[in-house]
Symmetry: C2
Subunit: 354 residues, 2 copies
């Protein structure tokens, strides 16, 4: 396959020298872009885009045409695996994702298939291949999955949740059932991410959106343990190239040391932790991705640049930092501000890479 023209993102994850700090934005393909909203009008729902490889590719490329981003990320949903397991994912207007079927018992878990990605998630694999080809080696393509715990919350609750009542009931009353579910999901995620790598993903990321609702012991037992299993099961090199793995637990700032011990290459940081502290705590072992508050993109140019400057100074000299927002970009920020952000990272980071 083509050599990467811009490999800053990969190099920073592997702590190899770079000229400037690479930057991308979680949810960079999305509703804050007028061209995305336009395409949605014509093409239909969010899942209509995800399941059509050409449209998924088009949407993936949109932000790269506007901004000098250092990575592309597959346009998809974290809930494709439970959908492929037969739960029936759907989205209602103005609400979060929902499932037709929920997991409530050990029998439900036992009856779940572990999907073969090339058979049951063909549309994702085709999207990866299509995007990789369309990128022509300009920047690396990131593949991703939800973490087993995060997927399980949606599968047991039947959708989004505030108090996570059902899954916590299961965790306390039937921990073996939940462990069986998480173990099966970890197997499915390993297959899924390895298939994405084989299809062309040059790095992968696991999103643990809801690990932060657990107490430290339960986070380790019910979320981190299964992300560790994923890290152990992934192809870490493919086609002669290292495939870096980033783990991101939202509100996981207190557990960085534990997450770093999984052997992943990088940690995603939300904005509730100071990146200087994070580097002190785990920066010898892993690269760091993050961590500007996505709400900062509501501010003016000067304020955004000031914040980028502060975070760059917090990380300090040398490689090992992939700049990003601390969570997905908000749908109502002015898209120009995303450009201000991306340019500021490149301009202001030069001094840290001499």
């Amino acid at each position: 396959m083509t050599e990467l023209k811009n490999d800053r993102y990969i190099r920073a994850l592997l702590k190899q020298p770079v000229d400037v700090t690479p930057v991308w934005m979680m949810r960079q393909a999305g509703r804050y872009l007028p061209e995305y909203r336009e395409l949605r009008k014509e093409a239909g729902s969010f899942m209509d885009l995800c399941t059509n490889p050409e449209l998924a590719c088009e949407v993936t490329l949109q932000p790269l045409r506007r901004f000098p981003l250092d990575a592309a990320i597959l346009f998809s949903d974290i809930l494709t695996i439970p959908d492929a397991m037969g739960l029936g994912l759907y989205f209602e207007q103005g609400e979060g994702p929902k499932f037709n079927k929920v997991i409530a018992s050990k029998d439900d878990v036992d009856n779940l298939p572990v999907p073969d990605p090339e058979l049951s998630l063909t549309y994702v694999m085709d999207a990866v291949r299509t995007i990789r080809k369309a990128l022509k080696g300009s920047v690396p393509l990131i593949g991703f999955s939800g973490s087993p715990w995060t997927l399980a919350t949606y599968m047991v609750e039947g959708g989004s949740s505030k108090a996570f009542t059902k899954i916590k009931k299961m965790m306390y009353a039937e921990p073996k059932t939940l462990h069986a579910l998480l173990d099966k999901l970890a197997d499915a995620v390993v297959l899924y991410l390895n298939a994405q790598i084989a299809a062309g993903a040059q790095a992968v990321m696991v999103f643990d959106t809801w690990g932060g609702v657990l107490c430290p012991r339960d986070y380790k037992l019910f979320s981190l343990q299964y992300m560790h299993k994923i890290v152990d099961g992934l192809k870490r090199t493919y086609d002669g190239k290292t495939i870096p793995v980033t783990l991101f637990t939202k509100n996981g700032g207190m557990w960085l040391e534990d997450i770093a011990k999984t052997g992943c290459d990088a940690l995603g940081l939300d904005w509730t932790i100071d990146i200087a502290d994070a580097r002190k705590r785990v920066g010898d072992n892993v690269a760091l991705q993050g961590n500007m508050d996505p709400s900062m993109l509501y501010a003016d140019k000067a304020r955004i640049e000031e914040e980028v400057s502060t975070i760059l100074a917090g990380f300090g000299d040398g490689s090992g930092h992939v700049f990003n927002l601390g969570h997905g970009i908000h749908l109502d920020v002015p898209h120009e501000n995303a450009g201000v952000f991306v340019n500021a990272v490149h301009q202001l980071s030069k001094q840290y890479h001499t």
Copy 2:
């Protein structure tokens, strides 16, 4: 006034020896109790209860009749102050609190009055006096307020929020307007809590429900700074008794050292931090309140007792621990389980107080 028959809660906050670890539950008066649901059917809305001192007193006492709790907490809402400032608090069926008016500009802030609690929040002061009298010194009465930052989020957003779009826009674009609002709110909270103390509250707690959505720097600037101002402005002794102050920032586990430096007596902990770690970090300076996951009350008796035992062992020997949930009790837990929890704390903590 009458001497307290059970002063364990106060003693533990002041790190004085106790026979067993005191326990109460955030939101202990509420919908998980059948007698509360019954009263609501007759009496009307949540605010109808809050604004009627006799009903607020009855509801405050309900959990104490069922369980050997070591403290009562005023039945009220955190949003009484913005309501008294004229914003018009209301609740819609199945939704969170809302305001008729929102704060959007410096003029809006300048026009806000700082309410005199005995004039504009008479119903709260009357409730405190009524409850204190009804308690007959059995256990102490806790008064409370929302933190300035948390109150401001509702006042600027107009209600509950997920992304805190409006207040973060204000924070980044017009920080002086937000500081003016927070400063005024801090003044109002000082007056409000001091009035509660004068009316009979024997301890006070400040709830910072939303401080955890800020980055560390902004947490210190926009939330903690104003809680510090409150701590400095409170009557710390009244009628010859020390009035302990507890500060609680949900998802504030990374900032315990900073919170402890305000000079408060105790920190409330949510369940995402290990209480043993918290004690190591700040336990020489402050008492700790917490921190069982409220969802544990969905589990069976043995599991609840096991968790109580783990947390007690985590804190270890000696005084300085007020047992509580890490957040409010869920409305759908079996009320019997609250009894299991309270009894377990008393029974299992004896060994740590010899």
